[in-house]
């Protein structure tokens, strides 16, 4: 399986996030993969280390596992003890992952509502739950990765991702409503809509929330922004 292509700089930033998260959480490793419902290329895009990358690939070679479930359910899928999967979920994947020494796996979607880009998987060699603080850190990391992936679509080839765009996702309802309006106005998918909004707001030096309110009042984003 060929790995998905991320623009220059994006994969590096995501790898940095995986490594930081792994050390902050004192877990065995972390990996991020890209997924799409439309049958695009799915696969691992970044990992804290080679072993985590290999383990993450198992979900794509077996076609099952927590990342697929998190993608479909649009919520985290947390498995604190892989061995204790009583309901026989993911038989192929869990056997392979256990053989590779994985004790626990925690999958967090890289998403904003209906716009889903991939999954962050956190691995531990030993079974056990993540603490509330660890979960919060993983969710924050997933949001940063989502923002990087959204903004990464803007990076021109050859250049490194400009982190001038805020990696913080704003959670106000107007932004999501405006995002839906851009989907309708331009006929783009919801991730693309948010990318365009963030780029337009950044380019015009205005807060995203202000742009969102203008869109709600009738402003239509230019197609070639």
């Amino acid at each position: 399986m060929s790995a998905p292509v991320a623009r220059d700089g994006v994969a590096d930033l995501l790898q940095e996030l995986c490594r930081t998260l792994t050390s902050d959480l004192a877990v065995s490793g972390a990996a991020m993969n890209l997924m799409s419902a439309a049958g695009g290329t799915n696969g691992v895009v970044a990992a804290s280390d080679d072993r985590s990358r290999d383990v993450d690939e198992l979900q794509f070679s077996t076609g099952e596992g927590p990342c697929h479930e998190a993608f479909t359910a649009r919520r985290p899928v947390l498995t604190p003890d892989l061995r204790a999967l009583a309901d026989g979920r993911w038989p192929g994947y869990s056997t392979a992952a256990l053989d590779a020494g994985v004790g626990a796996v925690f999958a967090f979607p890289l998403h904003v509502g209906a716009a889903i880009l991939g999954i962050l998987d956190v691995y531990s060699d030993h079974p056990g739950s993540l603490s509330q603080e660890q979960v919060a850190a993983a969710l924050t990391c997933a949001q940063e990765a989502t923002a990087i992936l959204l903004d990464g679509n803007l990076v021109s080839s050859g250049g490194r991702l400009d982190r001038g765009l805020s990696t913080v996702l704003d959670h106000r309802a107007e932004i999501y409503q405006a995002q839906g309006m851009v989907v309708a106005d331009l006929g783009v998918d919801p991730a693309d809509a948010l990318t365009r909004m963030r780029a337009h707001a950044f380019g015009n030096e205005k807060p995203l929330i202000d742009l969102a309110r203008e869109i709600i009042s009738g402003f239509v984003l230019p197609v070639d922004d």
């Binding site: 985290p76 899928v77 209906a114 999501y176 839906g180 309006m181 998918d189």
Partner: protein, 237 residues
């Protein structure tokens, strides 16, 4: 005072949620409506907290309640936030007297004709996941029985959200809460799509989504997802 008939309605509906395919967001909107009829309030709203204990708007019985909830979030103050932080009910029957307590929220609420507010924590054992607010245009004093009943509704909402009567694992709690928070985002996105497609306000767009989901017996969040991803186009009524 609450009528037995209304209470029965609430509990029948709650029992309905304890099945697999239940529509969380629609349920929360209904719960807000029920909280209004049960307490005699003018309107009601619900907020849920994320992993960082940041509150997010989830549902309201009316557009004005929605604004009151968003106003509190925007100004980072108000009864709902205090209730969430303290884990205790917070209430006032005269907002005009509460300017010191809530310098932005109290005058803002009074300006739109709101006089009373009661906030109830949504509790699961030692954890609080959000709060239910009822707003009154009158002083709206709630007796001990009313307080118990509205608190029971807040508790029931918590159970419905977490989908597990004796939720055992922290994992399940995280999964359900995060799923609920993301559902809310999907619905906002769908409101935007329908608002443009039908040339209507986001409020009308939401009603159109809700009605279509009900008439076709599909979950509101699933319909919203299909609308945003373009697999379904909501027909104009």
């Amino acid at each position: 005072m609450v009528s037995t008939e209304r209470l029965a309605d609430v509990f029948v509906e709650v029992a309905d949620t304890l099945v697999d395919e239940f529509d969380l967001i629609d349920f929360l909107h209904n719960l807000a409506d029920h909280a209004v009829s049960v307490s005699g309030a003018a309107s009601a709203g619900l907020m849920l907290a994320d992993q960082d204990d940041t509150l997010h708007f989830m549902a309201a019985s009316s557009e004005s309640a929605r604004h009151l909830e968003l106003f509190q979030l925007q100004h980072a103050e108000g009864p709902c936030l205090d209730c969430f932080r303290s884990h205790e009910p917070v209430s006032t029957t005269d907002l005009a007297q509460e300017t010191r307590r809530w310098p932005d929220f109290a005058p803002g609420a009074v300006e739109v004709g709101v006089r009373a507010v009661h906030a109830f924590p949504m509790r699961l054992r030692d954890r609080v996941i959000g709060a239910l607010n009822v707003f009154g245009e009158e002083p709206l004093p709630l007796g001990p029985t009313d307080v118990k009943i509205v608190q029971a509704m807040a508790d029931v909402a918590t159970i419905a959200i977490l989908q597990e009567r004796a939720i055992a694992s922290a994992e399940l709690l995280t999964e359900q809460l995060q799923g609920a928070l993301n559902s809310r985002i999907v619905i906002e996105q769908a409101k935007g799509v329908v608002s443009r497609d039908h040339d209507v306000s986001v409020r009308v767009a939401f009603e159109a989504l809700r009605t279509h989901a009900r008439n076709n017996q599909i979950r509101l969040v699933d319909l919203a997802h299909d609308v945003v991803t373009g697999t379904v186009t909501l027909p104009r009524s």
